[in-house]
Symmetry: C2
Subunit: 377 residues, 2 copies
Amino acid sequence: MSVKPEAAGNGRGRTPYLSHFTEFSERRARFVESFRDTKIDAFLVTALPNVRYLSGFSGSNAALLLTADRSLLFTDPRYQTQAPQECDCDIKIAKKALLIEAPIWVNRLAVKRLGFERTRISFEAYDFLKRNAKTFQLVPVGDAIEQLRMVKSATEIATIRKAVELNSAAFDHALRTFKRGMTEVDLAGKIEYRMRRLGADGPSFETIVAAGPRTALPHAHPTARAIKGDELLLVDMGATVAGYASDMTRTMGVGRLSTKARRMYRAVLESQLVAIDSIKAGIASSTVDRSARTVLKKYGLDEWFIHSTGHGLGLEIHEGPRIGKKEARRLEAGMAITVEPGVYLEDFGGVRIEDTVIVTKNGCEVLTPTSKDLIIL
Amino acid sequence: MSVKPEAAGNGRGRTPYLSHFTEFSERRARFVESFRDTKIDAFLVTALPNVRYLSGFSGSNAALLLTADRSLLFTDPRYQTQAPQECDCDIKIAKKALLIEAPIWVNRLAVKRLGFERTRISFEAYDFLKRNAKTFQLVPVGDAIEQLRMVKSATEIATIRKAVELNSAAFDHALRTFKRGMTEVDLAGKIEYRMRRLGADGPSFETIVAAGPRTALPHAHPTARAIKGDELLLVDMGATVAGYASDMTRTMGVGRLSTKARRMYRAVLESQLVAIDSIKAGIASSTVDRSARTVLKKYGLDEWFIHSTGHGLGLEIHEGPRIGKKEARRLEAGMAITVEPGVYLEDFGGVRIEDTVIVTKNGCEVLTPTSKDLIIL
């Protein structure tokens, strides 16, 4: 999918899977239907991923005002060329702050009850809107757009698949250049360079490369530490393609691994496979999390699994649903989630294995093509 | 400076410039002094760059509760190893959401009036705090921490200098590999790879590489478009080092440039140099902006300069002060700002030239070492 029309005709010759303008207007129509539940007659979207989801606009400053029959996109003069290329809303190039210009239109369109994103807007923006809301009432609305975003369309799944495949290809390329003595930042740099070479917008998050005892830090920044022999090596990486994220973790051995490290790897792999097997539309997210934990308990390692089993991903690297202990929400076909159990022993090391999967009616499809056999470099 | 103690002893053998724990506790003391102005007896810091500024902690989930004599850092179990390495606050590893655990301590410490960051906290977080604020009052506070952050310490300036120099070195390296026919993403990828190789945490923002008419998009994402002959090439890039950002733009010619493009370059360069000359402690930010615009007006190009002249930078790529038309705020010695006038002609191309500078008592120091002579590739 090319959500950026400027990228079409760039010589790569890909045909967009469908007219993206149609998909965006359908998303807006679906969202506007939800106005009845909250008795609002307009909604001001300010979170950029939500603006992009509903309009296609990918710029860094935007707000979207939606009523039953109008879609107004506010942005600033930097985007006067890009905005009409990317989206078919009425584009308003604002000279002042968007939160000054948008309420003028709220008045002009005679809106009575204006919904806003309670989880996304800052206190300041809310306070500002409230002081300017003379003719309309402000209605905090939960994660209505995020709820829509959880279940992906065919176009979105195709894009996530591309992001996942590109990410795995970048991993393969980068590993081929691996040499002992290379530093963590060297390897992270090679990975991100490969992502771009292969056509990614960029990494979906800062690539994690950790070696030796540093693998026990679940979110280690890569350092100038050399990757030596006989230790664990953990790589957690994602590429963004046409706005959509992918996410994968592999833990490897550099040289000989201890029996303890190999046992940890086996435990985490079994945990991850059992969790994946448990996935299908209709089951609670917490069931998937429990499946992963039960296996680690058998190995006496559940205490060291200190995060949730996974998360949704799409236009953001972390979105719903969360796959955690207390998440009663049921999975639906079309959800894109990660499955990533991990075990972390301080001063020793950690193992995490993560794939991106799509929930289906009777199970799930693991998009990540990279092998989960223990790689020894 | 190594604000990340885990990076010490990594073989690069740099001595931290001072005990960073001391610098952080001094910053907290300075901030706590401001409690008198707002009549608060505690402050809950939730914006991560502000948490990092006041504590040194660089993790992705944290809140800092400050009173006159206590500094409590809340984070989650993923950071139980990293947090005490990076900061000397009382560390509370929260099992639940930080906004559930922190108010328990607000009660326990008998706080009566709790300040919070009005520009940074979400409406949802505010609403949640408010519903849990049974024994204390919530006081919205503006950008008190951001105000402190605008004037950099010697340690911070040394780190920004490193970030700027590393960024220029990455630019030089990447340009040496330039070949006609290379794509925008190729060049962006090479730049970011070099940053990492040279020791950056990563890019401070998505590297902009735009060629030909795409240079007229001030925030173009790099595409798979080939960089051919006889056109403009714009690169806007920044490297983050030990948490601190740098920012630089250079516009170049690939092959022969038209007289019009060369004239644009001359105009923007003159505008940038005059703006830099106008900088010194005590003058208003708007004066710098006006200096840049006046030169472009002389060339009849001011109408196409559609953004502000610059911005502060530090732990974030965009922080105060803003260097714009209406900014009355006076510059102070120690502020780190960018100076980046630009001119953008739709369907033709754009030119922007940007350096990172430090404001001094009698002028400024341009940190960026890269030449501003028009480079022809």
